[in-house]
Assembly symmetry: C2
């Protein structure tokens, strides 16, 4: 399955500015992107980066550049793949296509396989993000459109209902965790430590190399930078 | 499967004190508890509340009172069920027992069924919570002990490794979401709205009746109280 991975090269991860400077944010964002691409490949997917600008690195997969806002760029990409004239349709309709965010640093092949499988059964499969976002989805209906503003998970459920598309919701903590804010860094380090993922996990390694460690104080575990 | 649901009757949900007064927190905590008990029953489980004090309500299931801290109370309950003398052992070892927190207001029968199934295959099945907690688990090894301080998910993985127990990790956003902080209220309302759960969801209904609504401003969706 083709998996589009939108990636912002323009001020990525600005909500991490309290703990990372701009160069660090760019490097960390790229490490997360590489983790997502590896997880997609591990799940048997065929990743394609959809970047807002040129990416100065060999990511090991095709990179398309579209400088428009996320919603417009993803809708254009969906249209090119699922649309009536451009889609690779067959008797059963177009091949499903997936979209997965580049900051899903906890994504595993297993979680993505579940998403892909759900997207082969239902017209639309969605992995909601914490806070009402849409962290990943699979679509096979040309009429489906994304709208990433606000509570996009609710909007996408509504859009699917409006076009009469069946919906599967993928209940995954790993896919629900987009790494946006400092508290999300703890989530990444917790699961990297639990899984003892010495060989994978570029983003977790990047954080550790940058001096971040878990801080198990009161309540939920946070991070501290040494 | 027997499912122990620890419930604090003493200052429950203090981290919601910025948005709910003490009586409201008690009522909301009880609504969440009822949702968890219903989800456990829906999953075919046999819920038992383990409360820190008397519960002044008919919860429709047995309630045991143990005023000790959570870790001690749960370890005593595990010991009574899995221990060498008190456990209902058979040739295959003791029956597995589950522990699920009372604030898992997003829990569904489907998510809990997955946990129970994992706990029948592995010695220990854990559903980690966001922030490194242990929101629910199934154990069938008498040597397993809980320690809810700090990053308990990591501690429980370590304890399982120390006793040579096989571990299954259940990747569920619904089970990872314990409702502790104001931001978690949004999560509850988002999924209640998405699923249009008119008949279930006491906790979400309680929040709506108390005037809470989703606030889709910038970034992650929050709540506002009208």
């Amino acid at each position: 399955m083709e998996v589009i991975v939108p990636f912002s090269t323009d001020r990525p991860k600005s909500r991490l500015s309290a703990v990372l400077d701009p160069d660090e944010r760019a490097a960390f964002a790229r490490a997360m992107l590489r983790d997502v691409l590896a997880a997609v490949e591990g799940a048997g997917g065929d990743p394609r980066v959809l970047a807002t600008g040129p990416v100065d690195a060999d990511l090991g997969c095709p990179v398309a550049v579209d400088g428009r806002p996320l919603t417009d760029a993803v809708n254009a990409a969906l249209d090119a793949r699922l649309g009536g004239d451009g889609g690779e349709g067959n008797a059963d309709g177009p091949e499903p296509v997936a979209v997965a965010m580049a900051d899903l640093a906890l994504a595993t092949p297993e979680a993505l396989r579940e998403l892909f499988a759900a997207g082969r059964e239902a017209d639309i499969a969605i992995a909601p993000g914490r806070g009402g976002g849409t962290n990943a989805f699979v679509a096979s209906r040309p009429e489906f459109r994304v709208d990433y503003h606000g509570a996009s998970y609710l909007d996408h459920r509504r859009i699917a209902a409006e076009i009469g598309a069946s919906v599967a919701v993928v209940d995954s903590h790993r896919l629900a965790t987009d790494v946006d804010e400092p508290a999300d860094l703890a989530e990444l380090l917790i699961h990297a430590e639990a899984d003892d993922a010495a060989d994978g996990g570029r983003a977790a390694r990047w954080l550790r190399d940058a001096g971040f460690a878990l801080d198990a104080g009161n309540g939920r575990v946070g991070v501290e930078r040494g």
